[in-house]
Structure formats: structure tokens, C-alpha cells
């Protein structure tokens, strides 16, 4: 099954719509609750990042009975130093983003903790593509 969602820069009132839809779909398929939580938390963090730090983008979801694979691809400034961005507490979030309750610098480490596979491709001035997989059977 393949689905796509569009995320819009700065649109915090819709941040989480994609993760919410994914959650509903997985629940209908009777996927284990802990597995659902892992993928939706990770997708939500990445979705917020695309809205907060980039200029929006597209989320591609591929789902079969063994795993869910989600790619969050944004157009944006890219991440100059991924190792640094992966560290707990590192954040360049704007005051507006902090006001929304984000900017703790915990999103990327959180994603890493929750998924079975994580791949970050990023190019400064172009954008970022985050691919994540959660296996249902392991």
C-alpha cells in the first residue's frame, strides 16, 4: 500500500495529520500498539521538523504486512552537520517554533530510538530526506 501526504511550511495546526492518518490505518490492520507508537512518534517528529526547519515537503508511506517504510522529503536549508543535529539538546529552532512546544533538540534522537532503520540524506540549500523503517515481525 502506498500513500502520500503534503506538509506545508509553518502550518502547525496541521502538523501531525500524516502521523494521525498512519496511526488510524495501522490500528485498523491490528498492528501491535507498541509498533504503532514507534512509527507514529518518529513520523510526527520528522513532520514537525519539515514544518519548523524547512519549507514543507512530502511524506511517502509504503506499507506491507512485514514493515512500514516512511520517507519525509523536504525542500529547505538542509542540515549542515548531521552528527551534531543528532545530538540530544542541539537545536536551531526559532522563537516561534519554541512557542509551539518544540525546539528541545530531542526530535532526531527520538526518531533514532524508535525506528529499526534510519537514513538521512541532506544537502545544504536544497533539502533533507529522511527514510525510516519499522519492522512489524521482529
Amino acid at each position: 500500500m502506498h500513500t502520500e501526504f503534503v506538509v506545508v511550511e509553518g502550518d502547525f495546526s496541521n502538523a501531525g495529520k500524516a502521523s494521525s492518518e498512519i496511526k488510524k490505518t495501522l490500528k485498523q490492520l491490528n498492528i501491535d500498539n507498541q509498533k504503532i507508537k514507534k512509527i507514529v512518534v518518529a513520523v510526527y517528529e520528522a513532520e514537525v521538523n519539515a514544518i519548523a526547519h524547512a519549507y514543507g515537503g512530502t511524506i511517502y508511506v509504503d506499507l506491507d504486512h512485514e514493515k512500514i517504510s516512511v520517507v519525509i522529503k523536504d525542500v529547505g536549508p538542509g542540515i549542515p552537520d548531521v552528527d551534531m543535529a543528532m545530538q540530544k539538546g542541539f537545536s536551531t529552532a526559532s522563537p516561534k517554533v519554541r512557542e509551539m512546544g518544540f525546539g528541545a533538540g530531542m526530535g532526531l534522537p527520538n526518531i533514532k530510538n524508535n525506528v529499526d532503520e534510519l537514513d538521512i540524506k541532506t544537502q545544504v540549500g536544497v533539502g533533507t530526506e529522511i527514510r525510516m523503517v519499522v519492522n512489524f515481525l521482529s
Binding site: M100, F102, M106
Partner: protein, 114 residues
């Protein structure tokens, strides 16, 4: 701790009710940082926050937290109420400060997550 007891201790309003008043939460977690909330493994949690926006509801949705308490008389919007109802959540609101709120709940036996 029962939702009704929490409401009584804090003189709180229940704005959206989707649980029996006898429903119990085991832990309290107070934070205004949504990514912090998203690290929790515990789910029988009441989220206590001074941040009142749609993202607090979304965050609770992803973290499987079904009871949220807003402190300091924060005004819950219609959009938030709608989303909370859609997700079968209970939303409470009290006038006390964060400090007083968590102090009272702790004193009355609500457990911390950590």
C-alpha cells in the same frame, strides 16, 4: 489516581470528558516540551502542561496519552476540543500554577514517571 479526585484537588474543570470519573491515571508528567513527552514509554499518564495549543493534543495522540490537564487558566480552543473528542481524550483545566498543581498532585499520591 481517579480523574474525579484530580479535579477535586485542583478545583479543575473537565472540558472534554471521555472517561468515567473513576478512570485512573497512574503517573503524572509535566512538561511544555513536546519532544520530551514523546520519549515516554508509560501510557497511563496525565500530561500536565502550561502550553495550550493543538500540538499538545497531537503529541498526546501519538504518545497514547488520553488525559491532559492545562494549568494557569489557559483557554482551550474549539479546534483542540474537536481533536480531543476525535481521539477519545479527557481534557481538564485548572487555575493553579504549574508548581502548585504538581505539588498538590504529588502530595496526594500521584506517581512521577521518573
Amino acid at each position: 489516581m481517579e480523574i474525579s479526585k484530580i479535579a477535586k484537588i485542583l478545583d479543575a474543570n473537565i472540558i472534554v470528558s471521555n472517561h468515567d470519573s473513576k478512570h485512573k491515571v497512574k503517573y503524572g508528567f509535566a512538561s511544555d516540551l513536546m519532544s520530551d513527552v514523546l520519549t515516554l514509554e508509560e501510557e497511563e499518564v496525565i500530561l500536565i502542561t502550561g502550553l495550550c495549543n493543538i500540538q499538545t493534543i497531537r503529541t498526546a495522540e501519538m504518545a497514547n496519552i488520553s488525559v491532559i490537564l492545562y494549568v494557569r487558566n489557559k483557554q482551550v480552543t474549539d479546534e483542540m476540543i474537536h481533536l480531543a473528542k476525535e481521539n477519545d481524550m479527557t481534557i481538564m483545566q485548572c487555575n493553579y500554577s504549574m508548581f502548585r498543581t504538581v505539588g498538590l498532585l504529588h502530595e496526594n499520591g500521584l506517581c512521577p514517571v521518573y
